[in-house]
Symmetry: C2
Subunit: 293 residues, 2 copies
DNA sequence: GGCGGTTTCCCGTATTTTGGGAAAAATAGG
DNA sequence: CCTATTTTTCCCAAAATACGGGAAACCGCC
């Protein structure tokens, strides 16, 4: 039996979380944030905060901006920047301007090479994606308490709602942990203690995401998903899209490692055999698990 | 006029530099390295050295290995690991085992989104690659003093020497700064003071790469390349491959930002009009420059 | 529920980071 | 090629905090 999540028209379509953190902050707020960061955090943590300052809207930052933003002195700002540069995590773009560095791309390649989930995904996803026209398949992975898309297969855009909705550059797209089919499929398969711990730690977020106001409600909701073995959402990520997601388990089946998600036009989805879509995706997930190193 | 670089049969084919740093070290050597690192380097630099420990052969590391390798105490090792984990640069894979973290993939996506060279490359390279069968086109970028491949277009493998030679997962592949057509094309276009500085700093490497034993020789060699506007190598990267590379300049032409390289089977290359290949690549580079934001 | 290994916490000491300014580089302009 | 401006490094005393050792807490696992 396939259950559908209720469409919540009050929630706006999910923004690209990577583009979320807005750069707009009043000078007063900056100072406050700087002081707050300053307290308690060691220099190690402070240095790494520099990386958080880079956003799609601001991919190149000047050192004096860093000083202002994080409340460092010139010396400290340059010290941090130099350490990060020497490690290759930053690189100076031009005079006084720094951007993220080559080491990041290099390390990411290392992860790509070493990631068994990605390897398996590249073998399994193409066929899966091709079976349903005008649909793409996403492979998402769980890191500690972060979900992000590691691979996309299929067309770059879905034709839906009279337009083209593209999910370009999917790899690296962070997904909200408590929203969206891909995340929920993973979340629901987490062991009970971890769900409990997550609830205790991030109760507010869970409630805001509509997962439930108390632990019992959250458990019930996730248990339902777990039993179904899938999550289907229509119109949540985007009004005109539908998503079906199933968990991907480790080879021995002992734990979830990610999720496999098909995204398609909501209109197309209405005409499909939902049960069959899920079955096919689940078969893909099993095949994927079996290919894990 | 197109000049060919002499084939140096004494040098072995370039290994994947990302896989270079071998994990094999005697215990004594480890201790020495640890002590050496320890001296002079601040905690910031020391912490970032943790990232260097991850290799394709050893993508998951235990904390006690870190202690041993870098000479840290348990406390320090955990402090560093925790800071890196909190920043998302590491993630614990399982009990006691840590791997590179989701933030790296996320940051890399940010770079992909923000990199004008990549944007332009994705628009220009496909056509370029398709024009010559059994060839691929590489777009490489210069960061400070590091060259790495940022994009590959065309087939995943070249049919050459009776086999298939594949350059898979090209993005993030670091290239030796003083070897290879792609790097030399960039190097030769660097302003003279930078070349001088590089020579003073890394004279030994330059000599080892056959660039020249003294500054005059290096200058002459690079000047020749710069005048040609291209570098062609046959059998250097791989006995059966040939590469033609041209520099890519910034939109205003004031500086090099990378290189555009065609890789093909050496046998195929012999039958081609070399001049025409270069001309086409140069046209591509110009087009690319014009598309830079 | 108990067990081995992992991770955090605690705290005095001493190493190091810190910050302000001045020197040195690098860059842009003449 | 040389000068003016900005960026970056260097220097050093004072203060902050990273360090290390061990114990306690916290896992996951059997």
């Amino acid at each position: 039996m396939v259950t559908f999540m209720p469409l919540d028209p009050t929630r706006p379509p999910l923004p690209d979380p990577a583009q979320a953190a807005p750069a707009a902050e009043a000078t007063a707020a900056e100072a406050t944030a700087a002081e707050a960061n300053r307290a308690g955090a060691g220099s190690l943590v402070r240095m790494l905060e520099v990386l958080d300052q880079f956003t799609p809207d601001l991919p190149v930052i000047r050192v004096d901006d860093l000083q202002a933003r994080l409340g460092y002195t010139k010396s400290t700002a340059y010290r941090y920047v130099k350490a990060l540069c020497d490690a290759g995590l930053l690189a100076q773009a031009s005079q006084g301007r720094y951007s993220l560095g080559p080491r990041i791309v290099e390390l990411e390649r290392l992860m790509r090479i070493a990631d068994p989930l990605l390897q398996a995904g590249e073998a399994v996803l193409p066929e899966l994606a091709a079976e349903v026209p005008n649909s793409m398949v996403l492979l998402c992975s769980l890191y500690r308490d972060k979900v992000l898309c590691v691979h996309r297969e299929g067309p770059e855009a879905i034709v839906a709602g009279g337009g083209r909705i593209s999910i370009l550059r999917a790899r690296g797209l962070p997904l909200p942990l408590f929203q969206g089919a891909a995340s929920l499929a993973i979340l629901a398969s987490l062991p009970a203690p971890r769900i409990r711990a997550l609830f205790l730690q991030r109760q507010a977020e869970m409630a805001a995401a509509g997962l439930g106001k108390d632990l019992a409600a959250v458990r019930q909701r996730l248990e339902r998903i777990r039993r179904d073995g899938q999550v289907t959402t229509v119109g949540r990520f985007n009004r005109h899209l539908a998503a079906v997601s199933v968990p991907v388990r480790s080879r021995d089946g002992s734990q979830v490692v990610g999720s496999l998600t098909r995204i398609m036009a909501a209109d197309d989805f209405a005409g499909q055999d939902a049960e069959r879509l899920v079955k096919r995706l689940q078969a893909g997930a099993v095949q994927l698990s079996s290919k894990l190193a």
